[in-house]
Symmetry: C2
């Protein structure tokens, strides 16, 4: 899909509107880089936020969980959710405590999460979950069988009513503060991968695959 | 405060209950290490999740935002929120696609977010926000004046009804999959700080402070 995200009352950013965007490509870049989505819903016991793995599949966010999960069972019919993915890029140190900030990129999506029941669609989603986290791993692992597929709930949320918020760059101190003499700048932050840790239960002396050795987001 | 977190119906973890805990100290460690909280609320236009900076102040999570923020204005009276902080520790590569997982630590808190109006309490919160992100920076920056304090809304959520979920360690493949011959193990992930980037607007040739140079979470 091309074109803008849908700007509605609740996706209109009232504070720091200069950081807001409704650009679909920017939203997709952020969603494709992130690894954890925070999903908010209310299935009868108040607003609840949980962390979930996810993937972007075309113009939707797909989520998954075990059929044994109590709250997921409530999604048999479509239900409104809010899905937020945030990437933290840096700490912004300003002259005044008040002007300290973070560099970040975030996407918030509002929409109805609907159960994916079609077998082919579900299979595409399973591949997307793994491709999203570790590209190349899908073909280097055992793919889901029918029992595993049936034990898994897949939800799809259209990326339509959504907004992007991005802060980048140096601090923005008020002119009156600029001569105060404190060091100001940005401490960049990045999610980095360490050396892969082989599974003690693994049989044989297998080499670490390149995609794990050189893992980079 | 000592003792357990409050286990209620909605903080009872139904899936992978072996990962669940109600230990207050573990919750505090996670909250003290995290930098972004995802806060869910419904102030009349459906469930909304937004990323926020936060701090733990004694037995509460404090949040803040600009008075100009539309949704924060709805918090003049206490309102239920769900606050989730998630730390990502690794990608878990198993024999089967189905058994792939993440190592993570997360806390979910349910409670009423209440406006902090007392001046002394608000000042403590301001210090906590900065101490939480960059210890030592509070004394090395200009502290908030009355105008800045008045322009900022501070909310406090008691850490009472809450749960912790932690996954760590190697993959857990089913016995029947263990001979499939794929490499399995964990790719550790960590949020790391890069070299500080001085603010181009900074006057003078100031040395980067130690707390920024050796920044570590």
């Amino acid at each position: 899909m091309t074109g803008k995200l849908q700007q509605t009352d609740r996706t209109t950013i009232s504070r720091h509107s200069e950081r807001a965007s409704y650009d679909r490509d920017t939203a997709y870049e952020i969603l494709d880089e992130g690894m954890v989505a925070h999903v908010g819903f209310d299935v009868g016991s108040g607003v609840t936020v949980v962390p979930m793995t996810y993937a972007r599949l075309d113009d939707a966010i797909v989520l998954h969980g075990a059929i044994a999960s109590r709250w997921l069972a409530a999604f048999k019919e479509g239900r409104p959710v809010s899905v937020c993915v945030t990437l933290l890029d840096g700490l912004v140190l300003a002259q005044s405590a008040f002007s300290h900030s973070m560099n970040y990129r975030s996407v918030v999506v509002f929409g109805d999460a609907r159960l994916v029941t079609d077998k082919a669609c579900k299979d595409r989603a399973f591949k997307a979950f793994l491709d999203h986290l570790v590209p190349a791993r899908w073909d280097d692992s055992r793919q889901p069988d029918d029992k595993e597929s049936e034990a898994t709930i897949v939800l799809s949320v259209p990326i339509r009513e959504a907004s992007v918020k991005v802060r980048s760059g140096p601090p923005q101190d008020a002119a009156k503060d600029q001569g105060l003499g404190y060091w100001t700048g940005v401490i960049p932050l990045e999610l980095t991968a360490g050396e892969p840790i082989p599974d003690p239960a693994m049989k044989g002396n297998l080499a670490v695959p390149t995609y794990a050795l050189n893992y980079k987001r």
